[in-house]
């Protein structure tokens, strides 16, 4: 019978080339652009801790020292290489930097963005250039509530959770927050009795809006006494402090962060504001280490999830704490956990996709040799399409606990959260009265906008 098709020796050569290329590619690193604030006000409390965590995690994973289920070396056997970029400079610069990462630096994936404004600007660009991008720390719910993305994921819960849990915690620990009938300055129809000081940027406005809405549902008779919205980086809070003191508010909600929060505490503390009106800091956890005993006693603090002091003990949490301490010299705060969630989430999706790909490629009943050869041939990892399919709806283990990609058509993570109250013990600030909230209590179900869910009474997702 005449032989048709390529000669056997040519087929052999082709197979060898594929395997060799696969093996060589297996040694090629997975290049990840990691974008975080390295300068500017957000660098110290957020950006640099995230970078320390990302670098420590990459080093540990590359050494094969990650705990189960993340104990495979690097990403499915390929080492991880980070290309770290400064997030400072505004959205226009970040869009240019993003394109540079994709088109010139040829990164495989991008993990990044602390600023909600940057996330809102980058997401459509990532979609346009078809680059898998994991938003790791920004909080605005608008990312997946106002748009739908194929290439964009976020591995931390959005900030609605922070505001809703803050309201729940406040009313559980201070049920007697007084009720006043009155007129609200900003938020007609919701009568409340607390003041707010939030920076005038999307995150601050979103945080305040969600908090007032949640309080309006949970304690409709409470009233807002004043709502201060100082400029980001204002630095001077003398008049705001006076206005807050005169407002007679029982508590002060704040999503201030960075130097602004520190300046506000430094200026308002000596004036006795926090003795009259304790703070509710939705993102206050990173400052417990920085400010120490300057943190006002009785401050309600959150960590944007079960991060930092709220993270439960376990092998993954111990691992992160150990490698972070070795890198940075102090305990990890929530931005470090956000970075860990992003890297481990991407790794879990990558490895899940790779396994699925192999399972499809290896014929039923194949012998060991065929399996090994196929694994070598597929060592380069999954395609973007395969990774996206694996990432959507993924459940993965992280130092913060179990993360579920269940909102935003499987692109937005959810988890439970926790709040606590600071107490000064022997000159050291500690967090007490910790209360934990399941994700059903603090986040809307799939397909429902946060604002609608809160206004609708925050019914637990089924």
């Amino acid at each position: 019978m005449a032989h048709v098709g390529a000669p056997r020796w040519l087929m052999g050569l082709f197979l060898a080339a594929v395997l060799t290329s696969g093996t060589a590619r297996a040694q090629e690193p997975v290049r990840i652009g990691f974008v975080t604030f390295l300068s500017g006000p957000a660098a110290g409390p957020f950006g640099v801790p995230a970078r320390h965590a990302a670098e420590a995690i990459a080093e540990s994973l590359n050494a094969g020292k990650g705990p189960a289920p993340h104990n495979a070396r690097g990403f499915g056997g390929r080492p991880v290489e980070l290309v770290v970029i400064d997030e400072a400079g505004g959205t226009t610069k970040q869009v240019s930097e993003f394109r540079n990462l994709v088109e010139r630096q040829n990164v495989d994936y991008v993990i990044g963005y602390i600023s909600s404004g940057d996330c809102l600007a980058i997401a459509p660009v990532a979609e346009e250039v078809k680059k898998i991008t994991v938003l790791f720390d920004c909080g605005t719910p608008r990312i997946f509530e106002e748009a739908s993305y194929k290439y964009v994921f976020r591995t931390r819960p959005h900030a609605t959770m922070d505001a809703v849990a803050a309201a729940l915690y406040l009313l559980e620990t201070r049920p007697g927050v007084k009720s006043y009938a009155g007129i609200n300055q900003n938020y007609a129809g919701i009568d409340q009795n607390y003041a707010g000081i939030d920076q005038n940027y999307p995150g601050g406005q979103d945080s305040w809006n969600d908090f007032t809405m949640a309080m309006g549902v949970l304690k409709p008779e409470a009233r807002v006494t004043t709502s201060q919205m100082p400029k980001f980086g204002a630095g001077q809070y003398g008049a705001e402090t006076s206005a807050l003191m005169q407002s007679g508010a029982e508590v002060i909600h704040s999503s201030l962060w960075g130097g602004d929060l520190e300046a506000f505490i430094m200026q308002a503390g000596p004036r006795g504001l926090f003795k009259k009106s304790p703070l509710v800091l939705v993102a206050g956890e990173p400052y417990l280490h920085r400010l120490g005993s300057a943190v006002p006693d009785g401050t309600i603090v959150g960590a944007r999830g079960t991060n930092g002091v709220f993270a439960l003990d376990g092998p993954l949490n111990s691992w992160l704490r150990d490698i972070y301490r070795a890198k940075a010299g102090h305990e990890p705060t929530y931005p470090a956990y956000s970075a860990a969630n992003a890297i481990l989430g991407l790794k879990a999706a990558y490895e899940k996709a790779k396994v699925a790909k192999l399972q499809r490629a290896i014929p039923m009943g194949a012998n060991r040799g065929v399996k090994e050869e196929t694994e070598k041939a597929y060592a380069s990892g999954p395609s973007d399409e395969e990774l996206i399919a694996a990432f959507e709806g993924l459940i993965f283990a992280s130092p913060s606990g179990r993360m579920t990609m269940s909102l935003g058509k499987g692109h937005q993570a959810v988890s439970g959260t926790a709040y606590g109250t600071t107490r000064l013990v022997d000159g050291k600030v500690t967090v007490t009265d910790i209360k934990r909230y399941s994700l059903e209590k603090v986040q809307p179900p799939e397909g429902m906008a946060s604002a609608d869910w809160i206004k609708g009474g925050m019914k637990p997702a089924k």
Binding site: G44, T226, G235, S242, M245, M266, Q267
Partner: protein, 298 residues
């Protein structure tokens, strides 16, 4: 306590802070016709130097009250080093060029100093809160004000009056005024204009640094503070009239009072209240309230 006294007190405190950070800017413009964009960076350098000098003082257990002296020493140190360095090393080379060139040069200095401070001090916020609380506080009605803030008000008055007296009552002040009015004529009468420029820029730098040093105990000193301050300082001197000492004082009072009123009465507009005032003033008086009239040369 009624809101009006609180608005007045908060406004005065904020105005005095604004005046201290803006007065060096208007002095340099008045004498040298340079819109010094690097003024914000010099303010930041003063703040960083204050954390370094003051931190050293406190860490070594010296008398805490001495930390106030260290704030002033930090400002003088920055003035005496950065001032001559920038003026002799850079500005001297571009005198006589168009004003826009000088603005671009100082903008370049601003960017360089931003990165230099990051290199020298890192990106983590630094603080020296001790001087803020050392003097205790004063109760005014139902409000408590740190004595430090009230001392700052006095200090701004001392700086303003001192500068005005120097300009109007001393020989050096007269020389300065001669250079302000006509540089060429002043040079023709034997005044060493280059030396006047050096001294003026050094004093302006020291004043910027003093603003930073006095602010350091109330804030977290970190990258980015320069940009925030320079915008506010520009607003103040533009309202008052570039180069006018009295204008800077009046501009600071207007901005301080408007902002305090907005915070207390209408917080939603606080963000743009300062710039709304600036726009309104410029519509009525395009060169500011106290613009120095310029003689037309033939």
């Amino acid at each position: 306590m009624n809101q009006i006294p609180a608005i007045l007190i908060d406004g005065i405190i904020y105005s005095s802070w604004l005046f201290v950070i803006a007065v060096g800017l208007t002095l340099i413009y008045g004498v040298m016709k340079i819109l010094n964009v690097a003024h914000g960076s010099l303010y930041a350098l003063g703040a960083y130097a204050a954390t370094a000098f003051g931190g050293y003082w406190i860490a070594h257990g010296y008398p805490p009250l001495g930390s106030y002296g260290m704030l002033v020493v930090a400002a003088i140190a920055v003035g005496l080093t950065a001032g001559p360095l920038i003026e002799r090393g850079l500005l001297r080379l571009v005198y006589g060029k168009e004003e826009v060139v000088l603005v671009l040069v100082t903008y370049a200095v601003f960017l360089i100093l931003e990165d230099l401070t990051k290199l020298a001090f890192g990106v983590d916020p630094l603080s020296i809160p001790q001087p803020y609380g050392l003097l205790g506080s004063i109760e005014v009605g139902d409000l408590i004000y740190p004595t430090y803030s009230l001392v700052l008000v006095l200090l701004s008055v001392v700086v303003g009056v001192g500068l005005a007296m120097t300009l109007n009552r001393t020989r050096h002040g007269k020389i300065l005024q001669a250079v302000i009015h006509d540089r060429e004529m002043a040079a023709a009468t034997g005044i060493d204009v280059n030396r006047v420029y050096l001294v003026t820029f050094t004093i302006g730098t020291a004043l910027a640094a003093l603003g930073g040093a006095l602010t350091a105990p109330t804030i977290s000193v970190q990258p980015g503070i320069a940009a925030e301050v320079i915008v506010l300082a520009f607003a103040v001197v533009v309202i008052g009239g570039l180069g006018s000492l009295g204008g800077a004082a009046l501009g600071a009072v207007i901005v301080g009072m408007v902002r305090a009123w907005a915070v207390h009465k209408w917080p939603e507009v606080e963000l743009f209240s300062v710039y709304a005032v600036m726009a309104a003033v410029l519509v009525m008086r395009p060169k500011g309230l106290f613009a120095v009239p310029e003689a037309r040369k033939i």
